[in-house]
Every structure is written in structure tokens, then in C-alpha cells.
Amino acid sequence: MLSVSNLRAAVDGKEILKGLSLDVPAGEVHAVMGPNGAGKSTLSYVLTGRSGYDVTGGAAQLDGEDLLALSPDERAARGLFLSFQYPLEIPGVPALTFIRTALNAQRRARGEPEISAPDFLKLARAKSADLKIDFEMLKRALNVGFSGGEKKRMEILQMSMFSPRFLILDETDSGLDIDALRIVADGVNAMRSPERAMLVITHYQRLLDYIKPDRVHVLAGGRIVASGGPELAQDLEANGYERYEQAA
């Protein structure tokens, strides 16, 4: 599904990703763990096409299609979703308006008809109930004045409404208490399917107790320096990143 090979990227002329390779097959959940400054957020931004993150070499493909040639919205329309570490506040735009505008933009880009207003509201009501989000909150400006946990739940809500094929979760557990973490993880786990894959980017092992990965990769110094099963996350929790940082 997602195939990244020898990817290099720079921010302000400084190389952050230095030949990163990674394959995530359909149906699998992979975790990328790494110390601060390893390039975890850079990886999520390069894959989603943020300006200012300049690709200087390598390739990234989603189902064989070159991601790097597409604009951020074209990537979204092809099913790539990033759950932001710090979801943006959008003053003046009710959450429902934002989500419907985005959903219909994706559908138009794929040549699908727009979703009708009643169908959209029905979907929004059902998905917000699953995530224990008060529907009235969706009438407020997106994320404005929301708590950290509420913002993350709004990310998962959008994710479940867009039904993307490939999910990137960037530090989704930051700012969450245990109850919020469980709701968010349940929402993410409900998205697991044989046609879908996920990349879970995290500094701490805690999130992986709730979202069980099939594979764990260690990102240090801009490259994947080790890969293994879920036990690798336990090992990192116990022994830290130091030996990988030295290796990088």
C-alpha cells in the first residue's frame, strides 16, 4: 500500500530525512517511534505534501501512484489522512461546515456525487455518537476553545467520516488523559480493515497498548534504523533510544 524508498527531505536547507525507507502493506498497522528531533513530524508532513518540506531525493508511493507529484488535496482525495499532533483552530467556521466542505471536495475530486445535506447530518450524528462527541459541539467553530482531548476526538471524527485508505496518526496520544485515549484508540481500531493501513507516529509506547501495531520501526537521525514486532516497542520503553541515536 504505502511504499517509501530512500526518501530525503530538507527544511530550510537542512536535511532532516536522510534516506528513509518503509513499506506498509494493506491491512497492517505500523508504528514509527523515535526520539525528539528524529524527523517523525517531518515524515508525516512530507507524505502529506506540506510546503516548506522539500523532497531532495527518493520516492513515496500509495498503491503504486507517486504521492510526491500530487498537491495536498489531491493526496487527501486519494485517501491519505493525517491526524495532526496539534489540530488547528478555525475561527468562524463551524465544524460541520468545515467537514462537509472537505468531504465534498474529496468526493468531487474522485468524480463522485456530493453527499446530500440530510445524509451528511445522519453520518455526522452517528459518527459523533460513536466517539462520544456532543453533536451540538459540531455547530461551534472547529476546535476553537476545545480541550486537547476534544480536538483529538474531532480529528478521529473527521477520519471516520472521510473513510481514508491510509491513515497517519502523528502523536495522537499527546494531551490525552486515559479516558480520552481509550475513546480515541477505539475510534482508530474501528477503522482497521484489510483494505486500509496505518502509520502510528509516537514518542511513547503508551499509545501502542491501545492501538496494537503489526510492526514497529525506530526512526533516528532521519532514517529507519531498526524494525521488528510489537516487542520492539516494549524494549524501547525499557531501554530508551540512546543506542539508536548513537548508531544514527
Binding site: D73, V93, F98, A102
Partner: protein, 340 residues
């Protein structure tokens, strides 16, 4: 120097120029070599944007037809006031609106031009004690028009005057508001929106003079400029000696969506009283890159994301319009402008 004198006497030497401090960004003397012939009389058959929601509509066509408007004490009224310019002549008009004590009035005012006319409109509005007026002004001028409007407002004690200007510029366009504020528990709100594109020029200028104690003024103007457009905001609040306990707040915020667009802003507070609460805020910048990327990651194109975020930015002003039907007209106008 005034445009109305210049038009009446067909004398370009009387045009306001950059030597007049508050006209330095809208220099008409430097622009016009000659003044066009007086405009021809005009029969109006078109409908205006507020026709459906006004009780009665007054037409001033190519400078003719202005009649004083009076609202008797205690009465309620909703009037349309259309200033229409057709052709490439020049004309000036003057009108007066008198609002009696405790009367309520909604003014739905439009400027509509279709070519390179030169027009000047002067309106004086006086509010009796306890009167309440909401003035909503929508300017739809031609690319080639020169359109200048001056409203001079005198507030009565305990009166309230709420104004929202909505403009999209012209070759040169200026909406000026001058308010004499007696304090005396009167409440003033001066809001504005400008959405200017192409090579248009739009100027919103105001001067509020607090002459007595216990007055309130709030002002919020938001603008969006793109292409090679130029937006101008000049806001001045004077608090005279003795106008104690004045509460005056001014905000102007603009988005510049292209490298060649320009915003000139001059917020001024002149305070000669001791016991006042006054503040002003002024920001001019680009759309937030983080919010743009967020919207695009969710699937919106550059254009869609920009339209959504700018509409939300302007929405803060539009939402303050008290008259619901007028607010809907303005909201639709803003949406149409930003999405095309």
C-alpha cells in the same frame, strides 16, 4: 477642498489631493486632469439589492431626486436609499435624514454605478434622544467609477447608531463617516468590510469626536485585498477634554492575498480627557499557512480553502449586523464575491 465643490464648479483645482492629510491615499487631484460633463438625467428601472426588504425606497439618480427623510418621534421605519450613477458624467447630491426621539430606523443604502462616472454624495443624519438607527451600506461601483460618499452623523443623548459599510472598491472609492458623539450614554458602532480585487481602490475613513462624558464607541473593520487592489482604512477617535468615562475601541484587520495588493491603515486615538478606556488594534497579513495546510490536507483545493478561511474572517463583522434580513443579503453578497 471638496469633490462636491469641484463638481459643481467644474474646477479640478478644488479636488482633494495628497496635500490634504486625510486624502493622501485617495488623491483625486493627481488622478483627474478634467472633470466630466454634468451627468444626464436618468430614469431608473433596475431593482436594488435591498428592494424586497425595505418599506419604501428613495432613489437618487445621477445626483437628482434627493429629498429629506424624516422619521417622527417614536416611529419605526425601514428605508431603502439608492444612489445610482449611470454613464460617464459627474454629479453631486446632498440629503438629510432626521430621526425623532425614540424613533427606530433601518437605512439600507446602496451605491450603484455602471461606468466611469464621478459622483459625490453627502448625507447628514441626526438622531434625537433615545433614537436608534442601523445603517447598512452596500457599494457596488464600476471598475472605472470615482465614487465618494460622506455621512455626517450627530447623535442625541442615549441614542444608538450602528453602521456597517460593505465595499468592493472602484477606480477610486471612498466612504467617509464623521460622527459627533455627545457622550451622554449614546452608543456608536462603526463596522466595515472591504473585499477588493483587480486594480480597484477602496477607502473607508471615519472620524468620531467624543464631545461629552459617558459615551461608547466600538469599531471593527475587516478587509481582504487581492490582485493589485488597494484597501485603505483611516479611523480616528478624538476624545475631547471633559469627555470622561468614554469607552472607545477600534479594530482593523486585513488580509492581503497577493504580493501586489496593498493595504494602508491609519488608526488614531487623540485623547484629551483623563478618565477614559480606549484601545485600538490593527493587523495586516496573509492567511495563516498552518490553517491553509490543515484545510488542504482534508481535501480542499487552494481556492476552496482560501474562500472558506476568508469568509470566516469577514464573517465576524457580518454577524454583527442586527437586521436579520439585511444580514442575509450581505452574507450572500460576501459569499458570492469570495467564491468567484
Amino acid at each position: 477642498m471638496s469633490l462636491s465643490n469641484a463638481i459643481r464648479e467644474r474646477d479640478v483645482a478644488q479636488l482633494p489631493s495628497k496635500r490634504d492629510e486625510d486624502w493622501r491615499w485617495t488623491d483625486l487631484r493627481g488622478l483627474l486632469r478634467t472633470l466630466p460633463e454634468p451627468s444626464d438625467p436618468l430614469d431608473v428601472s433596475s431593482t436594488g439589492p435591498f428592494d424586497l426588504i425595505a418599506d419604501v425606497t428613495h432613489l437618487v439618480a445621477n445626483g437628482s431626486g434627493a429629498a429629506p427623510i424624516e422619521v417622527a418621534p417614536g416611529q419605526t421605519s425601514r428605508i431603502g436609499l439608492r444612489f445610482i450613477a449611470s454613464g460617464v458624467g459627474s454629479h453631486a447630491a446632498t440629503t438629510r435624514i432626521t430621526v425623532g426621539a425614540d424613533a427606530r430606523l433601518v437605512i439600507l443604502e446602496t451605491y450603484e454605478s455602471n461606468a466611469g462616472s464621478v459622483s459625490q454624495t453627502s448625507i447628514s443624519i441626526s438622531l434625537g434622544e433615545g433614537a436608534s438607527v442601523e445603517r447598512i451600506v452596500l457599494c457596488e461601483d464600476d471598475d472605472e467609477a470615482i465614487s465618494v460618499s460622506l455621512a455626517e452623523v450627530a447623535l442625541g443623548a442615549r441614542s444608538s447608531f450602528h453602521q456597517t459599510l460593505v465595499s468592493s472598491g472602484a477606480r477610486r472609492q471612498r466612504l467617509e463617516t464623521r460622527v459627533l458623539h455627545p457622550g451622554a450614554k449614546a452608543e456608536l458602532r462603526l463596522d466595515g468590510v472591504y473585499l477588493i480585487s483587480a486594480k480597484r481602490h477602496g477607502d473607508q475613513t471615519s472620524v468620531v469626536t467624543h464631545a461629552g462624558p459617558d459615551g461608547v464607541t466600538t469599531q471593527l473593520t475587516k478587509g481582504v485585498v487581492q490582485d493589485q487592489a488597494r484597501g485603505i482604512f483611516q479611523g480616528k477617535i478624538v476624545v475631547e477634554e471633559g469627555a470622561d468615562r468614554t469607552d472607545a475601541r477600534m479594530g482593523h484587520h486585513a488580509l492581503i492575498l497577493s504580493d501586489r495588493a496593498e493595504v494602508d491603515a491609519k488608526p488614531e486615538l487623540e485623547i484629551y480627557a483623563d478618565d477614559v478606556a480606549c484601545a485600538h488594534g490593527n493587523t495586516v497579513g496573509a492567511l495563516d499557512e498552518n490553517a491553509m495546510f490543515y484545510a488542504r490536507q482534508r481535501g480542499m483545493s487552494q481556492m476552496q480553502a482560501q474562500a472558506l478561511l476568508t469568509e470566516a474572517f469577514i464573517g465576524e463583522v457580518v454577524e454583527r449586523i442586527g437586521d436579520e434580513a439585511a444580514r442575509e443579503v450581505i452574507q450572500a453578497w460576501v459569499t458570492e464575491r469570495l467564491r468567484t
